[in-house]
């Protein structure tokens, strides 16, 4: 915080700070290091989207998949989350260094999917355990959807946190690609959503969520 205090004394310091935020967010957005968290079929699809050559995730600076939460800042949830897995997921999330981002891919991760009813294990939505930034629907989502989700996250980061208020971030964004919609429409809509939607306080969100039910 020494830097912030110094800059406050310079007249027009806020101008410099804004630029700093932009530079930092630009760096964060373009070097996302995802953590491996694949529990079922969505993970196979995710690996094809990230690892293979055809839909190369390296183009967006997010290809360095890390096995350790200490080295990762993006958690891509791919697959059903069950009761027994929930505390481990929470632990992994809390071990990640801040700022940390979460993408939930696929129906099971977002809402429980086909296991919503009459299931004794499936958690109905990952956002019951940890705060989620981007939802990528699909069963499983196409690689394009996941890439679109990553792009949406990058846009969210770039217009996101500041040095003065770390952890205060834009609301979750739904990343879906409806048929017949042009890229310009999406860009416009996304810009509007990111601009108009309220903000969310990540530390408060974490504190508000309880540990998984019955554990």
């Amino acid at each position: 915080m020494g830097l912030v205090a110094q800059m406050d004394q310079i007249s027009g310091g806020s101008f410099i700070l804004t630029r700093m935020d932009e530079v930092i967010n630009w760096a964060r957005a373009n070097s996302l290091w995802p953590l491996v968290f694949g529990t079922s079929c969505c993970a196979i699809e995710m690996m094809m989207a990230t690892g293979a050559a055809r839909h190369d995730l390296a183009r967006f600076g997010a290809e360095v998949v890390r096995p350790s939460p200490r080295q990762a800042d993006l958690l891509i949830l791919a697959g059903t989350i069950v009761k027994r897995m929930a505390p481990r997921l929470r632990t992994l999330y809390e071990q990640m260094a801040e700022p940390r981002y979460v993408i939930a891919t696929g129906a099971c991760t977002i809402s429980g999917g086909p296991f919503v009813y009459n299931s004794y294990t499936t958690i109905r939505g990952a956002d019951q355990i940890i705060p989620v930034d981007i939802y990528v629907p699909g069963c499983p989502p196409r690689p394009e959807s996941l890439l679109y989700g990553i792009l949406a996250l990058q846009k969210m980061i770039k217009s996101g946190e500041s040095l003065r208020e770390p952890g205060i971030r834009k609301k979750p964004v739904v990343s879906e690609l409806p048929p017949g919609v042009k890229l310009e429409d999406i860009t416009l809509e996304l810009r509007q959503i990111l601009g108009d939607e309220g903000i969310t306080n990540i530390p408060e969100e974490i504190a508000r969520r309880e540990w998984s039910t019955g554990l």
Partner: protein, 154 residues
């Protein structure tokens, strides 16, 4: 495999044992719970049968008709498969373990105990396998319910 010889073998152990009338891909024997252990030992040890591999063991919950335990055996020598079916009552389901005949049965019986609550007599380590140790009830039973579950909306 000659079914007549097989039938004679299991009839010798318990006269109620029979070839299953159900339509199955494999030859299926329906045997009584009391004769299970002896039948299994015969299947494993007898040189002209020698089913030395337990492929799978599972259970089916037929509600009022009790549990149906299914053992699928395979003989690596004769390259033949055989299904063994045992029906046991739903209240107090007890069955002798076969883990002293095939070691692989130990984990599979633990799984069936975990999800169906079948008690295996003389099992060396009968405790929960997949669920938490303090889990109440057996979730693969058809009448299982708990607070976490959501009833279907229809």
């Amino acid at each position: 495999m000659d079914q007549e010889i097989l039938l004679a073998q299991i009839r010798q152990i318990d006269p109620q044992n029979q070839i299953s009338p159900k339509k199955t891909d494999l030859i299926a024997l329906e045997i009584t719970a009391t004769s299970l252990h002896e039948v299994m030992r015969t299947m494993r040890k007898q040189p002209d049968l020698s089913f030395d591999m337990l492929c799978s063991h599972t259970a089916v919950d037929w509600l009022e008709n009790g549990f149906e335990l299914i053992y699928v055996l395979y003989s690596t020598q004769f390259r033949q498969s055989l299904m063994i079916i045992v029906n046991i009552p739903r209240e107090n389901p007890v069955i002798p373990t076969v883990s002293n005949i095939w070691l692989a049965a130990e984990a599979q019986e633990r799984e069936v105990f975990d999800l169906f609550g079948v008690q295996y007599d003389h099992h060396p380590d009968l405790r929960r396998l997949f669920l938490e140790d303090d889990w109440v009830g057996y979730p693969m039973r058809k009448d299982y319910k708990d607070d976490f579950m959501l009833e279907s909306a229809e």
